[in-house]
Point group: C2
Chain length 321, copies 2
């Protein structure tokens, strides 16, 4: 069970290895939103997303004698685990869907991992993974339903608590980009202990709002499909078994944004903060910009920036500032 | 005369108003360069460039009773002075060339400044500026040849000294994007006092290498023209009267990069660091990536990120990773 103690232990293992990412803001962005927006720029984290924190936390907590690690991921968790394993001198196999963004596949390989591609439509990822894990003795690092992964993501929350205090933010809503809920759960646990005046609301793409619906019904709802959103990084079938009880206790209600709103947020983050976000990493900022029922001050996670150049240039062209 | 004491005083006035920008790096960028590259990401500074530091430093040092401020600038100094004046409650007039990047003109206005456009080819900027200053009682904030402006830019050097120590960097060359030399002189003065093991080399676009040539000849050389480079932010006629003696004592030799190399650096910074740079803000990174006579570890200033979307998408398209 992830607790503040587990998050603090992860922070200690991450110290000097992960980057303390800045809390950015810009007057011109605030003008557009009509509220103060602070952006926790995890796109500037090693490997371009917060996933490096959870990957490092999990890999650094593996028992001595572990032969290697394995992960399933469409890209950000893949890169985080790959680089963490590389730094720990462990072999790493990543199982990725063949239609994952090219930059994510290329970077995962560049971090030293062996990438095994599979077809989402026709192949059984879990069966391939189980076979690889069994035959090669690899430890599986799950993307969110793992106490040490959640603890690693929770270090974002420790930093937000400290940076919000430094910025004199007395009250705010923290908006998270939410897939399986590892980042959201970790942040919520950290803030519960360190900054209880900061509430947490998960943000999701329209049509893939399993978490928002689960927070309404009180049980884990599923998405009808896991394909068809531009926000590939945060599309998951349902909230996690471990993450959902945490979300249900501490977070909500959920917020939903359209793909176009996420893309507009990508363009505005580029123009006003000079950061590169992928659409899935911009849904929290999109909610901050385009939803009305929010307080005067919001803090958004900008959770990832691993975007193909073609998609990014298309977004900048379509959503000229 | 700018001294460490003046830089430290500027740092005290800037505390809580400017951002401590991160020192970024990325394993995949190091792989490409064949050396360790750290990037001081001043594109993440308020107004998108280090110029906010100098602007704030100068505006906050004006005598009581000052009626307003004025600056000449193609864009980054304009925005820095405009926002600093706005925060100090002072009227601000910025004289900008009509062919400055649209985003820089728009943002300068959005920060509350009155923008007066002039034609670089046919109008005399200094005459227009002198008339405005005289008739409206405005204090001129020069872009680089001003002790308080240099002191403000020198706070980048104080941060580099501290961040390099935290990162365990024992020796490195610091590469700066150099126009009139305010940033370079400020950093060199700060490092002379705080990190004398870090040497400073200014970087310029090919054909506009007045500083490199001046460091060879020992006197202030001029560029043949001040138009025709994509690196508009750092094209100046010659090193400053105040800045050059500092550069001549502490910096060099200069490095020169082509426009294409600057653009490739823009693309690589986007792909591997997820930051948006303008070409003029990427010349130091370009030198770090593409010049050979450099040590194993370099620290580059990424001095600005105010780039039009059209140019940026063109660069990403031409220099696909």
């Amino acid at each position: 069970m992830t607790s503040l103690a587990l998050i603090e232990a992860a922070a200690a293992r991450l110290a000097g290895h992960s980057r303390v990412t800045p809390l950015l803001n810009a007057p011109l962005l605030d003008q557009i939103a009509g509220r103060r927006i602070f952006v926790k720029a995890e796109c500037l984290q090693w490997t371009g997303s917060f996933k490096f924190r959870g990957g490092w936390s999990a890999v650094s907590a593996l028992p001595p004698g572990t032969k290697g690690v394995m992960a399933y991921s469409s890209g950000n968790h893949a890169q985080g685990v790959a680089l963490a394993a590389h730094h720990h001198g462990l072999p790493c196999v990543i199982l990725m869907p063949a239609d994952a963004p090219a930059v994510k596949i290329a970077n995962t390989r560049a971090y030293g991992a062996e990438v095994v591609l599979y077809d989402r439509a026709t192949e059984d990822r879990d069966a391939i993974g189980a076979r690889l894990a069994a035959t090669r003795g690899l430890a599986l690092v799950k993307p969110f339903d793992d106490a040490q992964v959640i603890a690693g993501q929770g270090t974002v929350g420790l930093e937000i608590a400290r940076q919000a205090a430094e910025a004199g933010i007395a009250a705010a809503t923290v908006l998270t980009c939410c897939g399986g809920g590892g980042l959201t759960a970790g942040i919520a646990l950290a803030l519960e202990a360190r900054a209880p005046h900061l509430s947490v609301r998960p943000c999701e793409p329209a049509g893939f709002d399993d978490t928002a619906r689960s927070l309404v019904s009180g049980k884990r709802e599923r998405n009808a499909t896991t394909t068809g959103s531009i926000c590939d990084a945060i599309v998951t079938p349902s909230p996690g078994e471990i993450t959902f009880p945490i979300l249900n206790r501490l977070c909500g209600p959920g917020l939903v944004v359209t793909d176009d709103e996420a893309c507009r947020a990508v363009a505005l983050a580029f123009h006003h903060l000079r950061i590169g976000l992928e659409p899935g990493g911009a849904v929290a900022l999109a909610a901050a910009l385009f939803r009305q029922d929010l307080p005067d001050t919001v803090i958004c996670t900008a959770s990832g920036g691993n975007v193909d150049a073609g998609l990014f240039t298309d977004i900048l062209t379509r959503f000229e500032a």
